[in-house]
């Protein structure tokens, strides 16, 4: 890539700043870019900082000189000028010209950033309170990705890992050097998918799909976070992208497909109460505990308790339906499309038999599938009703 003079200067300055080990560790500039767009943004920022620094030194150099030279204690007598049209015109025009010089390279990067055409692959990204869902449209892979940091570390009961709060159970995996188009949306409230190393930040808006793109230059693991306040656990929904070689990507796709088959096979199985409770506890802590709390007591006034809840201690079909379809107008989302039938059966079973709840009954995947089918059949039948 041919560099302009300014780019070379800014790179030199950045290199100077980054060279000391202390600076590298503390990071006082944007993260090291891993795509061309991110690198353009990096240089654009350095250039603008240099211009600002120059103006600052000139203007405040003059001001501080004046503060020392033109003071009463030194016997300086005040001059009486208070108007000069030429000067006013000059300091209106010069900043305008400088701004035009900034606007041109910035506009080029904007246009490049917004050009999402000709992707090599497309991933649909969905924000949930509080996790991310990914669907690989060409390879047919779907999974959820949520915070992996154990609760003990957040509560200061265990030592924190190096990747504290920036680690997920299922990272996004993409091949290096491919144009990846992201279709970004959300399920509940607005989130924002942000990956600093690729300079991608796009709000995930429920009901609308926006797109963005990146082409990773280097193999590696990159970390980002949700960047739009999305409620209680906004700070706990990180994003991890693993950029791998083309061959590793193919192998990963194959392993994901195998895993998906195992999961769907579970839906056809029948489990014992003990197996269901064990599985359900894991599903609960991953999906429910953020609001309803690990002890099932919820947060009074915000999120209802599961322990002793009327739904949970009532008929099991209504309980399953609540988990499947959510509660409109509340933060309770419909888990029907997020969790497998076996997982829903497990979590319902767990909730009915945990803490003070001692219902003793259990759900099976087939029962969940039947209730799901019933709901879909009802929806399908609805348009026919008026005729």
């Amino acid at each position: 890539m041919k560099q302009t003079v300014l780019q070379r200067w800014s790179a030199a300055l950045a290199g100077l700043v980054m060279s000391g080990s202390v600076w590298a560790e503390y990071g006082i500039n944007l993260q090291a870019p891993a795509s061309k767009v991110a690198s353009d943004v990096y240089h654009l920022h350095n250039m603008i900082m240099l211009v600002c620094l120059g103006i600052f030194i000139v203007v405040f150099g003059a001001m501080f000189y004046s503060l020392f030279a033109h003071r009463k204690s030194k016997g300086h007598k005040a001059a009486h000028f208070h108007e000069n049209t030429t000067v006013e015109v000059v300091w209106t025009v010069i900043p305008f010209v400088i701004l035009m010089g900034m606007a041109y390279p910035a506009a080029k990067v904007v246009i490049d950033m917004k050009d999402t055409s000709n992707p090599d692959m497309t991933i649909k990204v969905t924000g949930y309170q509080w996790k991310w869902g990914y669907d690989y449209l060409q390879d047919g892979i779907s999974f959820y990705s949520m915070l992996k940091t154990p609760r003990d570390q957040i509560d200061n009961l265990a030592a924190k890992d190096e990747t504290y709060l920036l680690e997920v159970d299922n990272p996004v995996v993409v091949p290096v050097g491919k144009r990846v188009r992201l279709l970004i949306t959300a399920n509940d409230v607005i989130h924002a998918w942000w990956m600093p190393a690729f300079a991608v930040k796009q709000d995930a808006i429920p009901g609308f799909i926006r797109d963005s793109w990146f082409k990773a230059d280097r193999i590696g693991t990159y970390r980002g976070q949700c960047a739009e306040l999305c409620g209680k656990d906004h700070g706990f929904m990180p994003i991890v992208v693993k950029v791998v070689s083309e061959a590793d990507y193919k192998a990963w796709v194959a392993s994901q497909k195998g895993a998906a088959q195992t999961a769907s096979a579970d839906n056809g199985k029948t489990f014992t109460l003990e197996e269901m409770r064990e599985r359900g506890e894991k599903v609960y802590s991953a999906n429910c505990a953020a609001c309803h709390q690990a002890n099932g007591m919820g947060i009074p006034g915000a999120f209802p308790a599961i322990n002793g809840s009327k739904v949970v201690t009532g008929p099991i079909d209504d309980h399953i339906k609540t988990v499947l379809n959510g509660r409109t107008g509340t933060a309770m989302v419909a888990f029907g499309k997020q969790l497998s039938d076996a997982d829903i059966a497990a979590v319902v079973t767990y909730q009915r038999n945990a803490w003070g709840n001692k219902m003793g009954d259990m759900a099976q995947a087939a029962q969940v599938a039947a209730l799901k089918g019933g709901a879909e059949a009802a929806v399908a039948a609805a348009p026919a009703a008026p005729q």
Binding site: K72, I154, I190
Partner: protein, 526 residues
Amino acid sequence: MSDAAHAHDHDHGHHHPTGLMRWVKTTNHKDIGTMYLMFALIMLFSAGTMALLIRAELFQPGLQLTNPDFFNQLTTMHGLIMIFGAIMPAFTGFANWQVPLMIGAPDMAFPRMNNWSFWLLPVAAIFLMGSFFLPGGAVAGGWTMYPPLFIQGGISYDLTILAVHIMGLSSIMGSINIITTILNMRAPGLTMMKMPLFVWTWLITAYLLIATMPVLAGAVTMLLTDRNFGTHFFNAAGGGDPVMFQHIFWFFGHPEVYILILPAFGIISQIIPTFARKPLFGYASMVYATSSIAVLSFIVWAHHMFAVGMPVTGQLFFMFSTMLIAVPTGVKVFNWVATMWKGSMTFETPMLFAIAFVCLFTIGGFSGLVLAIAPVDIQLQDTYYVVAHFHYVLVSGALFSIFAGVYYWLPKWTGHMYDETLGKLHFWLSAIGMNILFFPMHFLGLAGMPRRIPDYALQFTEFNQIATVGAFIFGFSQLIFVVVLMKSIKGGQKATNQVWEGAEGLEWTIPSPAPYHTFETAPVVK
């Protein structure tokens, strides 16, 4: 006008009430100005306490003092109360005290409405602060109130909408009063282009308030009906659009930014000439620059929304229009520096705050320019860089100008000079603390720390710790300010009429403290 004059005569015939009822029933612009300023001070300390809780939580990674929900309540309420409870009422307090004194008017144009527009504020403040004690706690969706998140909350969200309505009502009435006073009640000979710059900036601010407060009221009313009456303005499932709220909100929100800073420009433009003993450089260009900032503020709103995914043309338009604002803002800074140039400067506390304002506000202006560049903003939107940016503009900008103004006019209000040593101590601790607090946030934002998070990754620890230390220095040094105020109210060296050697303008022709009624016969300005 004749009504106002009548009410005024009426007042004269009787003794005005004393004790508490004096303050409840007063229609005197000085009393009301004092109440606005005291209210703002109380709110400053309330929201400041919240800020210290936030900074204490962020001193180290992990959750120590708060849970994530309470943390979000703190950040939301800190923002709402600082903006609507502290900064805006403080400026309105200055307008009440100073506009009639500076234009030679006996009082504000509508004294009874003036009383009402103040007394609405404590009601709104009680609603806001009280919502902490409601089930579910206070609002936690951010001061920007974005749906659909804002739709999810409990009763305190409706109460907050009501409070915003009440505060908007108060602002609109206050603005009508200020505009009418300035346009109709200037002393003979005081033409528009002879008005002190503080009066000019408030005139323009008042127009911005009248233009934008109804827009905010409309936006929050739509939130209210979405929440309670089944409308779908902001719900895509019902044909609405959550992004539409952001467009409406920021159409209010960006002019609001200038509502918070134009009166500050005015105060600084009074103070620098006084202590440089030299008239303001480029008075006319200051008026034009302020007006063009006000006009431009209506066409830049979507730069708050670069990350929502606008079309290329939208990104480019809002990027260019935002960059353009740097031109008139630059003109103001150059004019202030030119006013100091070849002056005969002394450095009393108001001047120190004014100089710090020019310097630090410009840092906020530069980070604003960086954020205006759309592709760079994509990296910095919703990070601590933005937090650093708007605190440089609002703390070392708006708040420092308020401190400067209070020190400048306090002798006129109380009749006593303040304690200069304590004032200088307050300045230096504030200026140093403020920079330790907010400067590292630029680095945090660049390195990738999102805002509004109660816990953070380990690489952000050091700068957060520095910021928290700065926060406590800055926060506790504000207690010195209260001591200075109390000392000056109680007693101290008698202030002369002119107070400052270089001060010029009508307010310095009346005795100190300003008598309860001033300019009953209009002064004549040559």
